[in-house]
Amino acid sequence: MKSQLVIQNLYVETVDHKKILNGVSLKISKGKIHALMGPNGSGKSTLAASLMGHPGYKIVSGKIILNGADITKLSPDKKAKAGLFLGFQYPIEVNGVNFSSFLRMAVNEKQGKRVSPIAFKNQLIEKAKTLSFNYDITQRSLNENFSGGEKKKAEILQLAILKPDFAILDEPDSGLDVDALKYIAQALNSLDFPIGLLLITHYQRILHFIKPDFVHIMVGGKIVKSGTSDLAREIEETGYSKFLKNI
């Protein structure tokens, strides 16, 4: 159970009682990459949001175990401190909040002590370089007037700095051109700490650059098939239609 993110039979509905997840189970070990694929509306993003504790979703039953501890009911900040990270599909803009100051504050919270501003800055410059992310952007307001690609890269930059044990990345590839995609894949491949990844994607394109250890197909709020990267290739050729027929 240690060094694992375990999702046990998770049932989730919206605050107005619309059932979205109908018993999702998944076990992710540190160091492994799991890809979660599925058609639009299958519940992938809901899984990501509810794992992190979004107030718009209610976990009706089931458990989330992180490194052996039950984090199902914790608030998002406590989940983050426990080692979980969510890369947003649509990162939220926060006007007037400096990206770099915010991230340093988050690092301080995570570590429970103040990091030196200079050490932090150097780290930020270095990580930004890996992502081909213009350092000047880190001095702007959080996600405000960032391009689509900059927003996605900024999420990965935060991940690289915060060093979580497990990260859920909700469609880190959507809306990106192939170069931006490569930078993101390269940054994820070159992370200097062990991490378990749940990579949510609609298309298999990113999986050409990041090789998953496992691939899961989600349809109708359930994982209907799990396999290795061969499964992703199969989807690339035949699409999701045969899984849709099965339910």
Binding site: H54, G56, D77, A80, F88, I92, V97, M105, L162
Partner: protein, 465 residues
């Protein structure tokens, strides 16, 4: 940006010192109070008459029928004049210990050394300290408490005093005119640029106190000055009243920036009239931050009297539990090609109420004038509210007038996003609020920006979660 460890609901400036007054009028107000103040101050007869005349106006003028409810103010329970000391000082070492301790705690003498050109400090009714660095004095800059200026510079004083805001302007301007004491008198000679700010700090110490300071700033042609005022008071169970009047005269091509960080305790009624008369190509900027007080009603104004004059008003209001911040700004365009902008940002939380109240008047003949008003309100919970009362009166066709208003609630998605990175709810809310007011905060001197962010963090800690 990083919230400090916080004591819940704490207002750090709430401490008080025992009152050792050297002269005090009895509670309540009539002509004998006014006579006593004028006599104690040894004023010329014209000022005594001015005061008595203003008192009559105050007595007949009804309370405002708009805005916040002021009916709980009991004018008979207020001390209208309390002098903490017979003397005024130019060195902190000479200031009586109790009083000096107060300003040390607020950080004024330290700030003076570091980044100010001059400092004035008022304690209850009297300014006890005024000092201007010599380099500015040598250039003819005058920075004195208003009472001393009346004696030292009677000519210039009489020429401008009460001209921008006459006693009959409103009930509280009349009250101030009757019992005024303290405040700053600033005179900047032609072409002189005072590059670092002057600051005045207003402290109410006594209970049931009325503080009625009177500030007059005259900026001669082509001059520049930035003036900052801060205010705090102890927390008492009874209310105090602060009714100041600030008049500014901006001559041709001059520029005055007036910054206020108002952090009165939550038992102070803050009813202040502020107005600037701006001549040709002159610029007046009001940066008005209201965080404290029980009720504030304050609308800094610009009268754009000369061709090409500009007025800019940035108003920031933060209303927590039990607070009403009725703030905004007014611009009157009397000459062609004048421009005004009013930017208001308000935050209400924990049942606090904010109102934007503003007016833009463009008179016939003020052709080519432009005005832009933007007011944004952020409401943090269901208990709190925000209202907007804009008035536009335009009597000229060739003008540009814009108005934008937005009310938003703190976004669940914003909080979720920030919390997903490890910030707790009050840290996340503080960040959103600080981000919201950032366009105004960035106009403040750094020390004040830091202080303002810290005050917001403190307020949020008590209000959220």
């Amino acid at each position: 940006m990083n919230p400090k460890p916080i004591i819940k609901d704490s207002y750090e400036m709430g401490f008080f010192k025992p009152e050792h007054s050297s002269f005090k009028t009895p509670k309540g107000l009539d002509s004998s109070t006014v006579e006593a103040i004028s006599h104690y101050k040894n004023e010329p007869d014209w000022m005594r008459q001015f005061r008595l005349n203003a008192l009559e106006i105050f007595q007949v003028k009804p309370m405002p029928t708009w805005g916040a409810d002021l009916s709980a103010i009991n004018f008979d329970e207020i001390y209208y004049y309390i002098s903490p000391s017979d003397k005024k000082f130019r060195s902190w070492d000479e200031v009586p210990k109790d009083i000096k301790d107060t300003y040390d705690k607020i950080g004024i003498p330290q700030a003076e050394k570091k980044f100010l050109a001059g400092v004035g400090a008022q304690y209850d009714s009297e300014s006890i300290y005024h000092n201007l660095k010599k380099q500015w004095e040598d250039k003819g800059v005058i920075f004195l408490d208003t009472g001393t200026a009346l004696k030292k510079y009677p000519e210039i004083f009489k020429q401008y005093f009460g001209k921008v805001i006459p006693p009959n302007d409103n009930k509280f301007a009349a009250l101030n005119s009757a019992v005024w004491s303290g405040g700053s008198f600033v005179y900047i000679p032609k072409g002189v640029h005072v590059e670092i700010p002057l600051q005045a700090y207003f402290r109410i110490n006594a209970a049931n106190m009325g503080q009625f300071e009177r500030t007059l700033i005259v900026a001669e042609e082509g001059s520049y000055v930035s003036y900052i005022e801060g205010c705090t008071a102890p927390i008492y169970s009874t209310d105090s009243l602060h009714a100041a009047v600030v008049e500014i005269i901006v001559k041709k091509g001059a520029r005055v920036r007036y910054t206020t960080i108002q952090n009165w305790s939550n038992n102070v009624y803050n009813l202040v009239t502020k107005r600037a008369l701006v001549e040709e190509e002159g610029i007046c900027e009001w940066i008005d931050g209201n965080l404290g007080s029980k009720i504030t009603m304050k609308y800094p104004s610009v009268i754009l009297n000369g061709k090409g004059a500009r007025g800019e008003i940035l108003s920031l209001a933060f209303a927590g539990k039990g607070q009403i911040q009725d703030a905004g700004g007014k611009a009157t365009h009397l000459a062609p090609y004048t421009t005004s902008t009013i930017t208001s940002k308000s935050v209400s939380v924990g049942g606090g109420q904010t109102s934007y109240r503003g007016s833009v008047k463009i008179n016939r003949g003020a052709k080519g004038s432009k005005s832009f008003v933007r007011c944004d309100a952020l409401i943090l919970d269901e208990l709190s509210r925000s209202d907007t009362y804009p008035t536009n009166l335009v009597n000229e066709e060739d003008v540009t007038l814009g108005h934008e208003a937005a009310v938003s609630k703190i976004g669940a998605d914003q909080l979720f996003y920030l919390m997903s990175r490890g910030l707790n709810e009050s840290q996340a809310s503080s960040l959103v609020v600080n981000g919201f007011i950032e366009p105004i905060v960035k106009e403040l001197p750094l020390e004040y920006a830091v202080e303002l962010n810290r005050l917001i963090d403190l307020s949020m800690e008590g209000a959220v979660g």
